[in-house]
Symmetry: C2
Subunit: 367 residues, 2 copies
DNA sequence: CTGAAAGCGCTTACAG
DNA sequence: CTGAAAGCGCTTACAG
């Protein structure tokens, strides 16, 4: 009966702490139930009487209560956070992907923790991310060292690569059929009657560049053609603009160019026009990706389009799979589509993929 | 001496739980110190002997230990998470902002929780965000209902608006000097000798559109001119392309257009060229914002450029201010800059802001 | 400078 | 279906 046991000996509740925070205990009190009951009322599938749940929800609404995701994450070891590592957020290929990840994860009750890693050093961002007990890590436009890949695995945080492939590190990856797209471009340009082919590479250290160039050249060779030149454009308008300026000023300039992305395709068109070349009469251009400017009337680029929606959906399926990632890393390759517009001569019998939107009665609207 | 008190009565440590997780207790054991010492070793400014800290750090490294950010956030009530609400992630104005927020927050040990709210309903995303006990909420390209603004305030989660202003809701805001930029455009176009002015609006429900149009018209009027027409472009290439097609086909078409953003400025140039109009000889175009395509050679747009770096820096200063947000909401307006390029006739004595990059020896490189 | 201990706000066996 | 209680992994007064 001594007061010793009733009187907590630690610090009293610090004023700073409870400061307006509404907890499950407050709700329990108001609803006249136990704190566990409140917790159950907010846990889908938990065993609570419907009437109890209703009382709890009502009290919670009156109080403006929401479960504390940090506390929940601490005890369940599931934060519902997914690290979204975006190395090149200003590359126009990524914003639609970021948007889709955002919306899709939110629909599942999860949230993207956005990480913009130092250029060429995704590794540096990983320890930070791991602290938040993220449920998964999605890495776009970059890859990880084997050491960091191992750290993620050890921490049981599934990591996948998006738009990159590196089997060697034991990471699964989601990407498009880069080689298939490059082959489509090769066929399209050969069938269009061209003879001098050039390739504008993105970053030389990216697997996408390698896959696209290799397949493009291979298919050219298979059909008895060769690649006249391969230049560097760094996925960037200005870099490629300069390199293309030199390329197209040469007397033996190509009559067909395949670009590693559409931004460099736009640059190619601008350079060509400035040199007085007509597109596609004097020069045909096909590029990878279909970001907004590619369909702008000034460019009207023929492109290899990646299935962004499916790629994101596949990624989310993989990282949320109940059994976790496959033990053996897999590479999911999704099919691409050639969108035929006006920047390359049409092979006989081939038509544009669709009527130009500016000739339609009801132009499809965009957000 | 009864064993009753030694033997915990609750559940035994669930196997699922500790599953490979390394905690401060593990580190403490290895370093031969108490768990509190480990915690202190990882808390900047905490009182630990340097030697102790070194021992702890060493043990932590050997074990691959990192403090659990969820547990830390739970007890400190600071998650080091900042909700970054991006309504229009695919608008090219925002990716550079996302990138800067990402890098700047990370430099401060914080991380952006990315939220892509339903179109026109940022409110819906807020309760979710509040669950994560974010330290602050930054809302771009949208605003909040008064009710939700109040919820954020009640939860002591400072919310600020970025690139929007709505004093009525009691939210502080960071934006650029929209009115000043619009006035610069007006002067520039009037001084350039134009006489028929048009405005292409972004979204009519945005404060930025309102501020830009109002100031543009006011300055026109002050100098004895009037706005011939104002059309809707929804900040979007296709929308504005169509609206501009109608506008420029009219016999009384304008000879000067001020666009609510640069994407619509690009559309204006494309439409003009397709109608055989020369830019800037027949039509001058000035637009707000300076995203990548604006400086592409095909467009070479004269623009009002927003100080993105400073706007982000100011935002971060506000949300991390030790004393919290100002009691009275403030609107921080940062100065804009007119970047004179080739899409509008130059007033007498005015020059381009700089030599076109494609005429320079060493073109400035971009990531 | 250090350790023992309370407590942050939850979830979840456990025992009715 | 429900409540009492342990425990998730930390931080931080408190008392040396």
């Amino acid at each position: 009966m001594k007061g010793d046991e009733e009187r907590p000996r630690g610090r009293r509740r610090a004023g700073r702490q409870r400061d307006g925070r509404i907890t499950s205990l407050d709700v329990a009190e108001r609803a006249g139930v136990s704190q566990s009951a409140v917790s159950r009322a907010f846990t889908p599938g938990a065993s609570v009487a419907p009437a109890t749940r209703a009382r709890v929800i009502e009290a919670a609404n009156e109080l403006g209560y929401r479960p504390n995701a940090l506390a929940r994450g601490l005890i369940t070891d599931r934060s519902n956070l997914v690290a979204l590592v975006v190395s090149r957020p200003t590359d126009p290929f990524y914003p639609p992907i970021i948007e889709r990840f955002g919306r899709s994860l939110q629909a599942l009750g999860m949230h993207p923790l956005l990480i913009v890693p130092p250029i060429d050093d995704v590794d540096a961002a990983i320890p930070d991310v791991l602290q938040y007990q993220v449920d998964a890590i999605v890495i776009t436009a970059a890859t990880l060292s084997s050491r960091m890949a191992a750290e993620c695995a050890k921490a049981k945080r599934p990591a996948v690569l998006f738009n990159r492939t590196t089997v060697s590190h034991g990471l699964s990856a989601i990407c498009c059929d880069n080689a298939g797209g490059a082959r489509m471009a090769a066929h399209f340009l050969i069938d269009g009657g061209h003879s001098r082919f050039a390739f504008v590479a993105g970053r030389r250290d990216s697997s996408t560049t390698l896959e696209r160039e290799t397949a493009f050249v291979a298919r050219l060779n298979e059909r008895g053609k060769g690649l006249a030149r391969s230049i560097d454009g760094a996925y960037d308008y200005r870099h490629s603009h300069q390199a293309l300026g030199e390329l197209l000023a040469r007397p033996d300039r190509p009559d067909a160019i395949f670009c590693g992305n559409d931004i460099m395709g736009c640059a190619a068109i601008d350079v060509a026009r400035n040199l007085g070349l007509r597109v596609p009469e004097d020069l045909s251009i096909v590029a990878f990706n279909d970001t907004d400017p590619a369909s702008w009337r000034a460019y009207d680029l023929t492109v290899v389009s990646q299935p962004i929606e499916e790629m994101v959906a596949t990624t989310i399926e993989m990282i949320t799979a109940p059994d976790g990632l496959p033990a053996e890393p897999v590479i999911k390759r999704l099919p691409v589509r050639l969108v035929v517009r006006g920047s390359a001569r049409l092979p006989p019998g081939v038509q544009r993929s669709s009527t130009p939107w500016w000739q339609r009665e009801d132009p499809s609207r965009r957000g």
